[in-house]
């Protein structure tokens, strides 16, 4: 609370004295300034016309007056009038007449509004309704967006004179793929260690610790490799798409492109989505390898398994289709991340705040959809006995 003592404008403390009687005398003196008004407000709250027939406000002894002090004087005058007295005379030093006139000009004395408030239940219900319609509308729009992208892509492939945007595509491949390798490799490696460690701990109790390799192989290839790659890419690239496109929106660059007859989807969205479609399966494969490597390190140090023994066991546990199950999901995840990232970027309004908000939303939505689709794939594959 020490900040509250910093604002000390008053050289002479403000005073307020009230004389009751047939005529109510309110006498103000000293410095009626902003650092004093909180105290004065408390004293004025007790003021009432009571038995008085008329009132005067004598502020001629005021040595310093600012807008906050003026407000208190004017409000008191208005309040006494509200209580049924004739409008009290307000006397101030002549050089403050200008200030009082400026402050009171056009001012309403009642019904100051500070914000939007309503019963909390209404606000709560309103919020649920708003969010529901927002999500439904957005689902509808994103399907439309998917359609638009598919159309543009087919057109770009089928029309020979309209070449794919190769330079943009290679830049995006580098940004989304190459630069993701260190962090993705490290995380997949660590996850491999974790899975092998937990698996070995449990399976040892049955003397079946060799099956740690089976657990590791199936888990990493079918699920973990693809998921961790998709989540990292959503966090790194999906968010970057939203932020980049959103910033262009704020700078009116998107509008400028449209007025030049440039196709925003073709120039901005297509290279990004295509880059992810190419890169994510590769990143998944890389995560698979790193995950298995991490798992091997753990089985070696915990179970003393040699590398040839590890490979033999792995070969008996997994087949090519185990790997394919993981890889087949990657393009779908890539499409989700790319679409959501670009879609949210194009929805940015023309203020910087919405860039941040939609970037967060794009990551959350992309990760959410990736996991939902992953669950869908699990059900699909189990039905197909894949």
């Amino acid at each position: 609370m020490k900040h509250k003592t910093l604002l000390s404008r008053a050289r002479i403390p403000a005073t307020l004295s009230i004389e009751h009687g047939p005529t109510l005398h309110v006498v103000a003196a000293g410095d009626w300034v902003i650092s004093e008004v909180a105290r004065l407000d408390g004293q004025l709250a007790k003021l009432s016309a009571a038995a008085a027939l008329k009132a005067t406000i004598d502020a001629r002894q005021i040595t310093h007056l600012d807008t906050a002090g003026s407000w208190l004087l004017l409000r008191t005058q208005s309040a006494l009038e509200q209580e049924g007295l004739p409008r009290p005379e307000l006397l101030v030093p002549s050089h403050y007449a200008d200030l009082l006139a400026k402050v009171s000009d056009g001012l309403a004395f009642h019904g100051a509004v500070s914000g939007r408030k309503g019963p909390w239940l209404y606000a709560f219900l309103e919020r649920i309704g708003r969010e529901t319609t927002r999500i439904l509308a957005q689902g509808y729009q994103i399907v439309g967006f998917l359609g638009q992208i598919s159309l543009e892509t087919t057109e770009a492939i089928l029309t020979p004179q309209r070449a794919l945007p190769w330079p943009a595509l290679t830049t995006q491949i580098e940004d989304c793929g190459l630069t993701a390798l260190p962090i993705l490799g490290l995380l997949a490696f660590l996850l491999g260690i974790v899975i092998a460690y937990q698996g070995a701990g449990q399976l040892k109790r049955f003397g079946a610790e060799i099956y740690t390799v089976n657990l590791l192989g199936v888990a990493v290839l079918r699920e973990i490799g693809g998921l961790i790659a998709a989540i990292i890419v959503a966090g790194r690239s999906g968010s970057a798409f939203t932020a980049q496109i959103g910033t262009m929106r704020v700078n009116d660059e998107i509008d400028a492109m449209q007025t030049m007859g440039l196709n925003v989807v073709e120039i901005l969205v297509l290279p990004r989505v295509l880059a992810l479609l190419i890169v994510l399966p590769l990143l998944t494969l890389y995560a698979d390898v790193m995950g298995l490597f991490g798992g091997y390190i753990m089985t070696y140090s915990d179970l003393g398994l040699t590398f040839p023994a590890f490979l033999t066991q792995l070969q008996s546990a997994v087949t090519l289709s185990t790997l394919m199950v993981g890889l087949i999901k990657a393009p779908v995840f890539a499409a989700i991340i790319g679409l959501v990232g670009c879609f949210e970027g194009l929805r940015v309004e023309r203020n910087a705040e919405s860039v941040g908000r939609l970037t967060t939303r794009s990551v959350v939505e992309a990760v959410f959809l990736v996991i939902v689709f992953d669950a869908g794939f699990s059900i699909l594959f189990s039905v197909l006995r894949f």
């Binding site: 600012d66 906050a68 200030l99 402050v103 100051a112 500070s114 914000g115 705040e353």
Partner: protein, 259 residues
Amino acid sequence: MTKGAAERDVVVRIRGLINAFGDTVVHDHLDLDLYRGEILGVVGASGTGKSVLLRTIVGLTTPRAGTIEVFGQEIAHASARARLATQLRWGVLFQDGALFSAQTVAQNIQVPLRRYTSMSQHLMDEIAALKINLVGLPPDTAGKFPAELSGGMRKRAGLARALALDPELLFLDEPTAGLDPISATHFDELIRGLQKSLGLTVFLVTHDIDTLRATCDRIAVLLDKSIRSGTIASLIKDPNPWIQEYFSGVRGRAALAEG
């Protein structure tokens, strides 16, 4: 500068100010005084460091050399407490209002009130309504968010926040930039009116020659690393080519002819 002016109460005193970014020198030994109760207009071509000057005075940019005293207090070497106490005596209006976007206009105005006074919420609401009225905005602006306001309204709301603690000194960064001529004229009148009735001292950075004519008592022209100050009448006689072109260009002549 007249003899009488030298004896007036100086609110901001700048001596030997040097501002440079890398090898680019923006201000080279710049001297400037701002006197109590005046509106000083700062003009200059783009890149002469008008906004940098404002930012340096309020402490957002640290100068390479030179002293800046505000209310006799040198900001750069003041203790944190003295610095804050000085900060509370000025208000700053940034170009687009710089309102906190997550808060309503009333809440924006109440930010300094909440932190530096112990007013009740009711009184703060009243004070916010008062400031909103003072800058000529309709009462329902209080509950609106900055994104719901037009550019001109945002500037007025920003001004209301700058005035929250009844400052003596007001810094305005291009207050009329981006406004239509009618809104700009109204804003000029608003500043002049507030300056007179609240007894403010105003440091105003602008491009707008109409604003200079309508509101400013004195003008400081930032040239390539030097500065000239005086009234419009005295500056018009200055032989410097930029000043000549500025005041005698088509826009300048038209604006001056009106006055």
